[in-house]
Symmetry: C2
Subunit: 341 residues, 2 copies
């Protein structure tokens, strides 16, 4: 029988559609060729070494010698850095000039790779670059909210093959974020604790939906996961903003995130995916009721009119089964994945 | 310069990304063959005449002779009609048994057609079938919310080619609907009027974003449209629930909706799309601050990590240009579209 479950943090209901549910194995994609089949260097790729868009560069890591990760302004930004900061009210319509930051984090020198195939050092450096970006954006008092994400593959919204992630800083707090944060505040009001901490502890006690855990993080499929293999990586230490993560936590997160991405890559045959780092709005970065975390969303199903008309998801996989499947993926020996020395 | 616009009804901010914006013509899809290339009858299609799943039938229109539209229970429903209605609290996790209605509206006898190519009578009958469904579901006091939608094409979430729409009745009010309705209530509190009425009147005065208007409806691209060609069809008469629409309004809506779908079909080369009828929750169907309407979402772009992490949309088309493009689509003579006598 289907079940309607509630996500405690967001209060959203999700239909777990057992009548149409598929076994985890049924989500494994047919092979579509490996990223390794691509050339290591593409002369037309603006992210490949030698083609660097130097006019757009914000910083590189390391600063001298061969860079490992570069942060560049987006050539086609959704938002522009400019001086105008003005809210407008024309008749009933509210708008503001599209000010903000929209950067690209080039994650590797190599064109033919992805996070699941790279040594962990690459992901550590990417996460460090995110933190540096946040520190830069934060100096601008007009910035209200910062979000980091990666789009892997065409159905996840990317058009450039060279591995890259993105950072966006906004002059508004998105409505959806405000609504979620209100729910977190209400939970804190009622119970005197953070809802994310509570959910993480509960998952650790139950163990059914845990995929990976480490010293600082727990990766689990939420009880009311929105889609098959939708996964949260929650830090054990309670703090509202990703920029509060210590160097030690960043390194540990890179290991856990890479482990999760490898389980998805090898277990499901390299599906497209998004990951997002969710953090408090800038003005609430000290809020006791907020908790930063990472969400990973493999793109193995399609949203349809129902989701658009209700905001409610139909998940055709049982979260407990999805977690067991990812836990049991046999990963190849790490050292065979790359030809770095 | 990009612009950040607010949708007055939902209070959501949308980035109108002029730096990456495309002209309306650039959204026209390459041709992928016509639905008319398919056979008119498919022996393996459960919706084709002769293959009817009679055990699943709820009703047909007309009741005798050749049916024009059939309503059948979904063979793989997201929710089941059953007697158990129970909320459960296990530890911190809330759930309820997956009770509800999930029906299919088979829109035509023909396998190789779509709403844009059919005579308007087909769409009138489909909308009448939706109303009959709502009247049936409403008799069940456990139903909290009813939604109608259509998924056209694979990227819009459909797997069966035979033209069909869907009806779902839920035992909960989706969180997203509650949040939107709270915003509508707040607007009514502040201004003593319905926000949808206000937006429709404003669009009619400005004319920039109107696509089609009729005796009872106005179809326009909202000022802060979420995606290219995202369109609302708003009834002029203020009422909260779709089931309150009169026979005259239903017939008029069919004409307007079909006109919009034809503009999308011919103008953009038959993209996948969803449409949704948004209506008040059952317990609020008399609410003065709520207003039913139809939203149409052509699937010409992909959502990515940014949308997932913020709930905020980046629209790469200027709403005014999208509206002008759809207004100016030259439609073929209606009578050439079908071979009905």
């Amino acid at each position: 029988m289907p079940e309607i479950r509630q996500n405690l943090a967001t209060r959203e209901w999700v239909i777990i559609a057992t009548e149409r549910a598929r076994r985890p194995e049924q989500f494994i994609l047919p092979s579509r060729g490996s990223v390794l089949d691509r050339p290591e260097y593409d002369p037309n790729c603006p992210f490949c070494p030698g083609n660097e868009e130097l006019d757009l560069e914000r910083f590189r890591i390391p600063a001298s010698g061969d860079w490992q990760v570069r942060v560049v302004r987006n050539r086609y930004p959704a938002l522009l850095e400019h001086d105008e900061y003005q809210r407008r009210l024309q008749g009933i319509n509210r708008s503001l000039a599209g000010f903000g930051y929209h950067d690209i984090v080039v994650e590797s020198r190599r064109h033919n790779t992805c996070a699941a195939l790279e040594p962990v050092e690459g992901l550590i450096t990417t996460l460090q670059a995110f933190q540096t970006c946040a520190a830069i954006y934060r100096r601008d008092p007009r910035i209200e909210h910062i979000v980091f994400f990666k789009n892997h593959g065409a159905t996840a919204g990317t058009s450039l093959l060279h591995p890259h992630a993105q950072a966006v800083a906004l002059p508004v707090v998105p409505h959806d974020i405000r609504v979620r944060n209100e729910e977190a505040r209400r939970y804190f009001d009622d119970y005197g604790e953070c809802v994310l901490c509570r959910m993480r502890e509960d998952e650790e006690r139950q163990q059914d939906r845990i995929v990976v855990s480490s010293r600082h993080f727990t990766a689990f499929i939420p009880y009311a996961a929105y889609s098959p293999f939708h996964l949260w990586i929650v830090p054990r230490r309670h703090t509202a903003h990703f920029l509060n993560a210590t160097a030690d936590e960043i390194e540990d997160l890179a290991h856990v995130l890479r482990d999760v991405l490898r389980r998805i890559y090898y277990g499901l045959n390299d599906p497209d995916y998004n990951y997002v780092i969710r953090s408090a709005p800038e003005s609430e970065r000290l809020a006791r009721h907020l908790h930063w975390y990472v969400t990973v969303i493999p793109r193995v199903t399609q949203t349809a009119g129902f989701e658009m008309g209700t905001g409610m998801f139909i998940n055709t996989a049982l979260p407990e089964e999805s977690a067991r499947f990812l836990r049991n993926v046999v990963l190849p020996d790490d050292s065979t994945d790359n030809d770095y020395d």
